[in-house]
Symmetry: C2
Subunit: 364 residues, 2 copies
């Protein structure tokens, strides 16, 4: 299906990001013009202001706000740091360069801007996210982690030197890296009708080798463990812009389960952001009940696994959903866990030939 | 330059691998035909049999050997496991499927072959490497880790469904994943005259954005920390098959230094293998002396850093080379370390515009 209507989404967003930075700067200048000490206010990210929103199906920030005023001697430093971060992000965007959190920390020294440590600099970038509502990736500040995608989607690059060039995501059978160039590309064309996200690299390769993308008309996304933020945003875009349902396959343990949950409902750390999670995505396996039904080879749950399950049982993201509650209870009952590779006990292709189609049907 | 003469290296090697497995099986059958208990012998990998070879510039195994005999009750299990691993590897090769160490462990259960745990199964795969002299990647058993490459090299795939298809490694500006399909491809054409290996993802992206591949006619390899084995083998192939010098850029600390050393001289764990290291590769930075000369922002060395430096000082790979010895001494003297990103204090492109050209000249 052609996706012309979304063709300019990336350019549109870039304009919004630049406008938000400009707005940030304008507010400061306006206050200066009026002869008042400039003040920036933003929602508080303190724990008591983070609430789970059952409608949005993610964490959000409440009504409490905090401000940084140039009038307050204790605020002068974070106020200046935040203004610098906005200026630096604007430079990155204009110069079309990408950066990392680590780079930002050292780059500050080129401007005689001091940060006590990496954590302080990271916090200021999170402040900038909170003020503007955009994520740091929108400001060209990318993480190191890299995951991958494979399948029949043609993208059109927007990065310098590649504008207008296209790549079909079946071009490289090891998978295509999800980095700044990929996440900033437009979606030009796809024949896929679903997204399958996979936790493990070995299984991602298996799925490609066994032509899961063809047999199931799927785009395959490797999360490589906990999905990096840009990968979660990429999955959200696949869902929203291409109207594709998303199925998530992880290891059958509390950690795998939570990898799926963070893709679906996000994290408390990102309560100040939208568009990093995909509420309609579904966790298709490996469920605790799959471990029982498929008689998988298992390892016993250890103490940290069990502690984690009790935590998740009380987590608002896991409430009011019979599936998650049932699976947590089953884990606690059987006291066992199984990895995705455990299906190899029935032969290397069993997971593709038998398990996958069954679970796709079951969770649709 | 066209590289026709190496065009069939991959196919050639595949034949050698299959022949080595066949040879393994034939030896067992021959012994059975003669009415004797089959025995497999191989070099011992015990510490006292691992020696550093200054000529090969890597660790090698000495003359001691061990055997696994079906006659010895204590050997029956490892003998059977090793024979199964050879059979399974042969199946993977014939079916042109890839696998992982984890997959091998679970796949054994499909054959009623028991391994006590993952470690036992990993050890048997290492035995198979030792017996045949080929690495597990040659038997289609790949690690999870993924790194990347970027630059003007056109590869020709040999994996099913992609035979004869080519990809230029500038196709995706986030870099092309180094996975089973890439490492098993033939090198068709390149204009590059050097390889630059980089430890950090952020810097790899920076180098691409700043067109280092064009300005320096380079293939850029992201090691993503300690280079995975298949990436080390890939670098070796770039050096051997394309006659390209290799320059390595890491963080300026004992761990970064050792990332370079393992690419150059390999590890004791792989003493039973060749072709995983590139003795002619050079460590171009960040040196301890660079930290001083470039007045980089630093962190103090902590206790584990210092302990590590004393270990490396005695390591045979670091002996007889004035550069390494000087740098270790300098680290111990200044008691400081610096990351690659530290150059950002002079602006985001300083590392590309000033540092890189200087160091390439210095280490050629």
């Amino acid at each position: 299906m052609e996706q012309k209507k979304h063709k300019s989404r990336v350019a549109e967003k870039k304009n919004e990001v630049v406008a938000s930075l400009k707005n940030f700067g304008t507010r400061i200048y306006d206050q200066l013009d009026k002869g008042v000490f400039p003040t920036i206010s933003m929602p508080s990210r303190s724990t008591e202001n983070i609430h789970y929103d059952p409608h949005l199906r993610q964490f959000i920030l409440g009504d409490k706000s905090v401000s940084r005023s140039a009038r307050n001697i204790r605020h002068v430093k974070p106020f200046t740091q935040l203004s610098w971060a906005a200026m630096f992000s604007n430079e990155l965007t204009i110069q079309r360069k990408t950066s990392t959190l680590r780079d930002v920390y050292y780059s500050a020294q080129a401007y005689n801007m001091t940060f006590k440590d990496q954590q302080e600099s990271n916090n200021i970038i999170t402040d900038l996210e909170t003020v503007t509502g955009f994520s740091r990736e929108d400001f060209s500040i990318f993480p190191e982690e890299r995951s991958a995608v494979f399948g029949d989607l043609t993208i059109e690059y927007t990065v310098p030197g590649y504008e207008g060039k296209t790549l079909n995501l079946t071009s490289h059978p090891d998978g295509v890296l999800i980095g700044p160039a990929l996440t900033s590309s437009e979606f030009a064309h796809t024949t896929a009708d679903k997204v399958i996200a996979i936790e493990k690299g070995g299984l991602f390769t298996r799925f490609i080798e066994e032509n899961v993308h063809k047999k199931h008309n799927a785009l395959l996304v490797l999360t490589a463990g906990q999905a990096p933020r840009q990968t979660r945003h990429f999955i959200r875009r696949l869902h929203d812009e291409l109207n594709l349902p998303v199925y998530i396959f992880t290891d059958g343990d509390p950690w795998g389960m939570h990898i799926a949950m963070v893709i679906i409902s996000g994290s408390a750390n990102a309560a100040h952001l939208r568009e990093l999670n995909t509420p309609d995505a579904v966790w298709s396996g490996v469920w605790a009940t799959d471990i029982v039904n498929y008689k998988l080879p298992t390892d016993p749950l250890d103490d940290v696994d069990i502690k984690r399950l009790y935590e998740l049982q009380k987590d608002p993201r896991y409430q009011n959903d019979p599936l998650w509650q049932r699976e947590i209870k089953t884990f606690l009952k059987i006291r066992k866990k199984a990895e995705q590779e455990a299906f190899s006990r029935y032969g290397l292709t069993y997971i593709v030939d038998e398990y996958l189609p069954t679970k796709l049907k079951q969770t649709t």
